[in-house]
């Protein structure tokens, strides 16, 4: 986790292209979030029904975000 944070900041300072920055930093942020969910929140040991709770929220969110940004044209 700590390494990922440091990697994000290094990317911020060292990568010039905004698109590349977004790609790398987003990937790192998502990886951290997944790591926290899987290990600290122990989703790896939970039954599928619990995982589904988290996934449904993320799924709706994804639909909302995609359509919101798309609505800008």
């Amino acid at each position: 986790m700590l390494t990922a944070v440091v990697a994000e900041v290094i990317t911020f300072y060292s990568v010039a292209s905004p698109d590349a920055q977004i790609a790398v930093i987003s990937t790192l942020a998502t990886s951290q979030a997944v790591a926290v969910a899987v290990f600290y929140m122990q989703l790896k040991d939970e039954p599928g029904s619990i995982r589904l709770f988290a996934l449904v929220g993320v799924m709706f969110l994804a639909a909302l975000l995609i359509a919101m940004v798309a609505s800008l044209g």
Partner: protein
Amino acid sequence: MGTVEWLKHWLFTTDHKQVGLLYFFTSLYFGIVGAVLALLMRVQLSVPNNNFLEAAYYNQAVTMHGLIMIFWFLSPLGIALFNYFVPLQIGAKDLAFPRLNALTYWLFLAGGLMAVFSFFVPGGSAAAGWTSYEPLAGPLYSPGPGPTLTYLGLMLMAASVTVGSVNFVATIFWLRKPGLKLMDMPMFTWFALFTILAMLFAFPSIIAAFLLVLTDRLIGTVLYAPPSVLGVPGIDPSLLWDDLFWFFGHPEVYIVLLPAFGVIANVTPAFTGRPLAGKSWILWSTAAIVLPISFGVWMHHMFLTGIPSILQEVFDASTEVISIPFGIIVIMFVLSMVKGRIQFKTPFLFVVGALVLFTIGGVMGVFLSSPVLDRVFNGSYFVVSHFHYVMVGATIFGLFAGIYYWLPKMTGKMYSEKLGKLHFAVSFIGFNVLYAPMMLLSDMPRRIFTYQNIGDWAQLNGIATIGAFIFAGAQMIVAYNLLHTWFRGAPAGPNPWGSPDLEWSSPAGSPQAPAPELEPVGGWIGQLSPAPPAAQAAAPPAAASYPAAGHALHLSSRPLTLSAGVMLFLTGAALYPGLFPLALMAVGVAIAAYSLVAWAWDDIRDRFKGPAEEADGNRWPFDAVPKMKVGMWAFLSSEIVLFGTLLGAYIFIREAALSWPSPSSIHDIPLATANTLVLVSSGFTMAMAVHAIRKGDQRGLLAWLAATFVLGSTFIGVKMSEWVGLISGPTPFIPGSANPVTALAASVYYVIVGLHGAHVIAGLIILVYLMARTARGGYTKESHMTIENFALYWAFVEIVWCFVFPLFYLL
């Protein structure tokens, strides 16, 4: 029982039946308020060029009519039935978290009172329509404390719904009696579950939307400020509002409707003499509607906003698709009646009425799914007719079916069948006389307070107004019938409909009895009698101080006082500035803080106990998951949508803005990075705390909790110093900045980072409680679920920061 004790009992109750009755009567009260507003509107529109209501008052009436009817009448009436009957239908003694259940009621009531009170503050209530479109509902076009009060009331209502949803999810999944499989649950409970799940995922969006509105109104952010005022090129705040509002708004239609469908599914077999046809078809169709289709149709409300045509086509298709499962459900209901030996009792008549009205409204809705036809109809009375047929007609007729069906259960008495049928007939006629003319008013704009004498507008509006009074008058019949039944009705017997459902196996007419197996402990509201001696003997000394009936253990004043404190604080915030509002806020904070501490203290001292749970209840698919964890995950899934929606709003604004300040020009990146590392480390210490108590190491637990507290406090301390620097620096980074880009960037930064900070602070407060309880040996290797649950919460807070940090500080 004396009056004071009687009153105390009802104010402090956490019993699901009594909370259900409180919901029932309170929602009827709000229904009357909403109906009076509707009648005022109809009188105003009854003739052309009328001046019965001024434009400003008409706008307030139409706005508050919509808000009150949807949030404080229709939906809560369904929740009242959920409260009363879902635990009975699954054989549970109460909801999973009885005090939280009482809290949901008091928050609901507090929010509603704030909304109604808003009529009496200077400037009046909200007047921008129930949809509260921005920037119309913003401080520029809707100034004054009234709208703020209404929207804060809505936030309380939304908080109530979230807490209630978590409670029902845990109850339905965890408290089913032994042997009751999920698929064997009564249909009403199934529809309750669908409704609750839709609430869980829909309400965070409206919370996020109104949070942004309220920060604009209360602390001067400019998130929805109109482009002409803000001057940020490219930003269209109205589109952001539309997305957030309708992502909630369309599922809300089903949230309101599904309890009525649950009643229909539950009631129909009792009056047709045959099982419900296609039960699994109905369940799968409803599942498809709720998760996911209802969340994929919201943009059909936005066809006129200029969204790209491809999106219009996608949402046209998805809206038409949703009519398929609804069609299946209606066909199955009708099939259930075919070949049945139908008894045309009052509940069944209302079932038929609901289906007829829903079908009419549903067919009208198919027209509105077309972007082309929507352009013609959207701003007209055709739409008003459509959504009243679906949301009001189908819902209220369905719920009336449930009220008549279960009245013998709630009172032990049988209602007057003659009056029930009369109520149905007059209601059905009145409803159609009211809304059918509006179908024909497809050329009349719906957002006007008066009109010229054009075409047949005057005649049709006149007829509609007559219908409104007939429909309202019909409700006098049910009011009389209810009261007559409760006080003078003939005994109904234990199961007058011969239903096989579990709720009929418990004693009728005893809302005080917390469990089906217990003896009835009295009659209705006025006849609370002492508990059976055995129940009294079981009560511990502290709880026995409440002079209550059969469930002394079930009383708690904390939900009421906490809600009252929050209401006072928010009312003060809405009315601020001034000494009186400040005093209200101070008193509110004091009461709320006292209530929270007392709530925690009750827990530490074990002064409140819910009813015992079945050790071998059917808990699939959560057999191996503790009850509190099911509740926590339900809550977190809602939080995911809340924060995700807010971050989505930020991304929307960034995408829309043609320029944005560089993060490094605003923030101290090394400091923010160090602070992020502190928060990330606190996630590790919290995980170690869980690890320690799993091994039974209480000292280790205390040490790791303390470490988490120190790290969390450090994070907040650094954050506060960072904010002081941002606000008081040479170029202040504040929402009131003269530079519109800076003002917008600061607004969105403070709201989202601030909300995350509030979650961290809430976590720190809980940590203090956990440490205090740990120091008293409150957690063991075998019993430490609260620690596990808090670890989930803390990890979630860390996950949010995983996105907040790069989005605001790096990108």
